[in-house]
């Protein structure tokens, strides 16, 4: 146990299986603000039933691809499934990232923005903003729209 005190950790037993409160399908740890930072770690014990095999070795979580989700203060989130590392050992690597609202690459966004600004400027210079399409055709190509 590194970097945390007992008072920093609380638990939530979620989704009781068959309605039994002490049989949660999800086990959640909550950490006090500013307590679980880089370099910190916790270890704990918990028995499981009906998960791949019983008794359950460390391999079971990887065999069952059990997911673990991590929420960060500030809104970032990550989730990954356990995988088998070796005999009696499973692991999961969780990368958290803030939610990106629009999946447009920055260079693409800059290019599209530049094109938009240039187009608006050009149309203004030609006096075409707010004009009907017939006027565009006459101004740009010198002939009326048929």
């Amino acid at each position: 146990m590194t970097g945390l005190a007992a008072g920093d950790v609380t638990f939530a037993l979620l989704d009781p299986v068959n309605g039994v409160p002490s049989h949660p399908g999800r086990l959640q740890f909550n950490f006090a603000p500013g307590s679980f930072g880089v370099g910190d770690s916790i270890r704990f014990a918990a028995d499981t039933d009906y998960l791949v095999s019983d008794p359950a070795s460390g391999t079971v979580f990887g065999q069952g691809s059990v997911p673990l989700s991590i929420s960060m203060y500030g809104g970032a989130f990550g989730e990954a499934n356990f995988f088998v590392v070796a005999a009696t050992w499973s692991g999961a690597v969780i990368n958290t990232a803030a939610v990106v609202p629009v999946p447009v690459p920055v260079p693409g966004a800059l290019m599209l923005g530049g094109i938009g600004v240039s187009l608006v400027g050009y149309l203004r210079r030609r006096g075409l903003m707010g004009q009907p399409l017939t006027m565009w055709r006459e101004t740009l190509w010198g002939q009326p729209l048929r």
Partner: protein
């Protein structure tokens, strides 16, 4: 007005593209999770240094009928009374 909106949108996209990331490694280690005191681990490996974990959630719901039936953090003296006394 249009230009201002466009610039604001581009700035927002740039900020979103710079989103930070943290790396956490979790493990389960041991012969039997009923008898191994430190069977589960969560390690905050890397991040910006200003990030903190708010919660970690293990999910057994993909395995019908599976559940946790005991939990404790012996190193911290934590044995939630509502959740079995290990």
């Amino acid at each position: 007005m249009m230009k201002r909106t466009l610039v604001a949108g581009i700035v927002a996209l740039c900020i979103a593209g710079q989103a930070s990331a943290a790396v956490i490694f979790a493990d389960t280690t041991g012969q039997d999770n009923f008898t191994t005191a430190n069977f589960y681990g969560i390690n905050f490996l890397s991040g910006s240094g200003t990030e903190y974990i708010q919660s970690a959630t293990y999910n057994l719901l993909g395995h019908p009928g599976a559940f946790f039936d005991s939990m404790a953090m012996p190193a911290m003296g934590i044995r939630p009374s509502q959740f079995w006394a290990r």
